[in-house]
């Protein structure tokens, strides 16, 4: 199936990725997918320990996907990331990675990429 890439400016996404490349690349590699960051997220605790609220899940399924595809993501994919980045994370910066990965930075970068494509949470409309 042909992807809906209409209206997605890949150059903008690529620019953001390139600007943060070293840190994103190292962070993605250093993540051992251990899930030890889970308990540090208060939303994970509050949502019955739903693994979709784990900090690692949130950055792997958003920035991780964008980075792996070198920014060539379609609008549907970006729209799917919206609730992960805004509804499941409040960027309280309390998440804690035993490896020392700066998780809030990764979520923030993913939000920037989505915003650059006019994908963001409109609390008055999307709530």
């Amino acid at each position: 199936m042909k992807k809906n890439t209409k209206g997605v400016d890949h150059r903008k996404i690529k620019n953001i990725l390139d600007k943060n490349k070293a840190k994103i690349e190292l962070s993605m590699k250093a993540c051992a997918h251990c899930s030890m960051c889970a308990e540090s997220c208060f939303l994970f605790q509050a949502r019955n320990k739903d693994p979709r609220y784990m900090p690692s899940y949130k950055f792997l399924k958003t920035l991780g996907v964008i980075y792996k595809k070198k920014g060539k993501v379609d609008r549907v994919t970006l729209e799917e990331m919206k609730p992960i980045l805004w509804k499941r994370c409040v960027l309280c910066t309390r998440c804690y990675c035993p490896m020392g990965i700066d998780i809030p930075y990764l979520i923030r970068t993913a939000r920037s990429i989505c915003r650059s494509q006019d994908v963001y949470y409109r609390y008055d409309e999307d709530a």
């Binding site: 190292l26 993540c31 030890m36 693994p51 035993p98 490896m99 020392g100 930075y105």
Partner: protein, 221 residues
Amino acid sequence: MDPLNLIYDLARGPLVWVAFAVFIVGSAAQLVRMWRLTSPPDETYVPRVKKADGKNKLPLSYRIRLSVAGSSPVTVAVTTLFHLCLVITPLFVLGHNILLDNAWRVSLCSFPERFSDVLTTVVIICAGYFLARRVFSERVRIISSFWDYLFLGLAAGPFITGYLAYHQICDYKLVITVHMLLGEAMLVAIPFTKFVHMLFFFVFRFAVASEYSLGNGKRRW
């Protein structure tokens, strides 16, 4: 010449030095790269950095309880044991030191063989725990990929084959050749793959100041 003998000679000779060279140069380059990602403390911009060092930190007992050691004590204990044995065992195995002595006339002290065997068994059991956790725990499974299983296998592989070789299970020559090849593959993989977390951990948990930093590093991301 028998192909197995040829691979054995390669794995025992030039490939060892290639693996060590790639490991040392690659790790040094990655460490420099990581260090460059951090900046010196900017007291005016991040006043917390000042508080994060020394006496202003929470007492150690609180920090342990609030950290992963408090939330997942078993996994933290297994992880610590696994990584300690993973690094220490190959350095002090008698067989490795004999090879080192033959090549350079220098060697480290060696553990008694029985003790090395126990440490090897510990690594294999811990790897089994990680595998079970990855397969049966939903929170780990949901973020796992093929590569996680592969790298777990690559980390445990040299120890499993080492164990088999020591106990003379299966064809010794074949097992010891696979053991050397896996060990070399692991060394080469450390700076460039998921194994880079070995280096990442020390730079960012010790050098960068944070609530849970180990040591008194004052740098920031």
